[in-house]
């Protein structure tokens, strides 16, 4: 049985299965969410996750993630 991760994602508790081959990375999460990686930015526990490190940034239960993009604003 795979482990289940609970992440606080944009203010909501969401559960994700750990992939068969190892822990879930930010890259894995964004892929699962279907997001265009060139247009978003990710903060994990109030620290920026640089795009270059998505593949090697592993997530753990209880992590707080903010995934943002640009929208219209004044």
């Amino acid at each position: 049985m795979r482990d289940v991760l609970t992440l606080l994602l944009n203010g909501e508790n969401r559960q994700f299965e750990t992939p068969a081959r190892g822990p879930l990375s930010v890259l894995g999460l964004l892929t699962e969410l279907g997001l265009d990686m060139r247009k978003v930015a990710v903060e994990r526990n109030e620290e920026i996750v640089p795009r270059s490190r998505y593949a090697e940034t592993w997530l753990a239960s209880g992590d707080q993630l903010e995934i943002v993009h640009f929208i219209g604003g004044g």
């Binding site: 203010g11 990710v42 903060e43 920026i48 943002v68 993009h69 640009f70 604003g73 004044g74």
Partner: protein
């Protein structure tokens, strides 16, 4: 008022061309722009209208907000599809941030999403005024500048605060003309003029403009540029108002460069008083 305007004729904060022609450009943080209108991208009916109004405004810099992605609709159209970041300089803002920490986090995310350092900082006090919270603004500006950001800063019309922000290293000083989204126009022209005297980086009126004449007044006072959003987005016909703003900014700038005639308390006829028939 007249005195303040006379002084500004000597003190042009960003230098200007002799004829007010195409060479009349301005520079912020090493980037040079022709348009002196910066527009927001918020509060439009839809993204198509946003794109059309911004094109009509002639703006080269647009402000954008940073918000959570709607995870239930990851393929929803995005601003970048309608306002091309290759064509316009995106200026991420911290609208909606009421603490220095939120503003800093927001702009760090913006830098990661877009890869640039030029940002607009605003730390706001509570509704209904959303007046600039200067304590939070100072705190955030200090952290951001240390972190390599180039900070254009929204601020109160407070000459001491503005000078201090410039000394800290902010790359543009942007006081309000009236509360955000109020459309009340430039309510503080004398203070705007007096503040400008002591600022050498670009100086913009940000917030308060309601219609074209307000933008022209800000430019006539000698502002480097004007930043506005609602005046276009909340007009009945945003695209037409965007054109009006483009012309108003240009007219106001030219009037400033031309140097207005002195005000006199009485008539001074334009036609000669000699050679009249008797």
């Amino acid at each position: 008022m007249d005195q303040a305007m006379t002084d500004q004729d000597i003190h042009a904060p960003d230098g200007h061309a002799e004829n007010g022609d195409a060479e009349d450009v301005w520079t912020v943080a090493g980037r040079t722009f022709r348009s002196r209108l910066i527009v927001g991208t918020g509060r439009y009916k839809d993204l198509e209208e946003t794109g059309a109004a911004i094109a009509a405004s002639g703006a080269e810099i647009v402000t954008v907000a940073v918000r959570r992605v709607n995870l239930s609709d990851p393929k929803a159209p995005m601003l970048q599809d309608y306002v091309d970041p290759k064509k316009y300089t995106y200026l991420p803002n911290t609208a909606g941030c009421f603490t220095a920490n939120d503003a800093v986090r927001t702009l760090r995310l913006a830098r990661e999403a877009g890869g640039w350092n030029l940002v607009k900082l605003e730390v706001l006090g509570p509704p209904p005024l959303l007046y600039p919270d200067m304590r939070g603004t100072f705190e955030a500006a200090e952290v951001l500048i240390k972190d390599g950001f180039e900070v254009m800063v929204y601020c109160a019309d407070d000459p001491l605060a503005a000078k201090r922000l410039e000394e800290m290293g902010c790359v543009a000083i942007m006081p309000l003309g009236a509360p955000i989204g109020s459309g009340l126009g430039v309510q503080n022209p004398a203070m705007i003029s007096m503040m400008m005297e002591h600022i050498t980086v670009p100086f913009l009126v940000d917030a308060g403009v309601g219609t074209a004449s307000d933008a022209a007044i800000a430019m006539e006072l000698g502002c480097t540029a004007v930043l506005l959003n609602s005046a276009i987005a909340h007009a009945k016909h945003p695209v037409i108002m965007a054109r009006a703003m483009k012309h108003a900014i240009e007219a106001g700038r030219l009037a400033y460069l031309a140097g207005r005639m002195p005000r006199t308390m009485g008539a001074d006829p334009s036609s000669p008083l000699t050679g009249l028939i008797r």
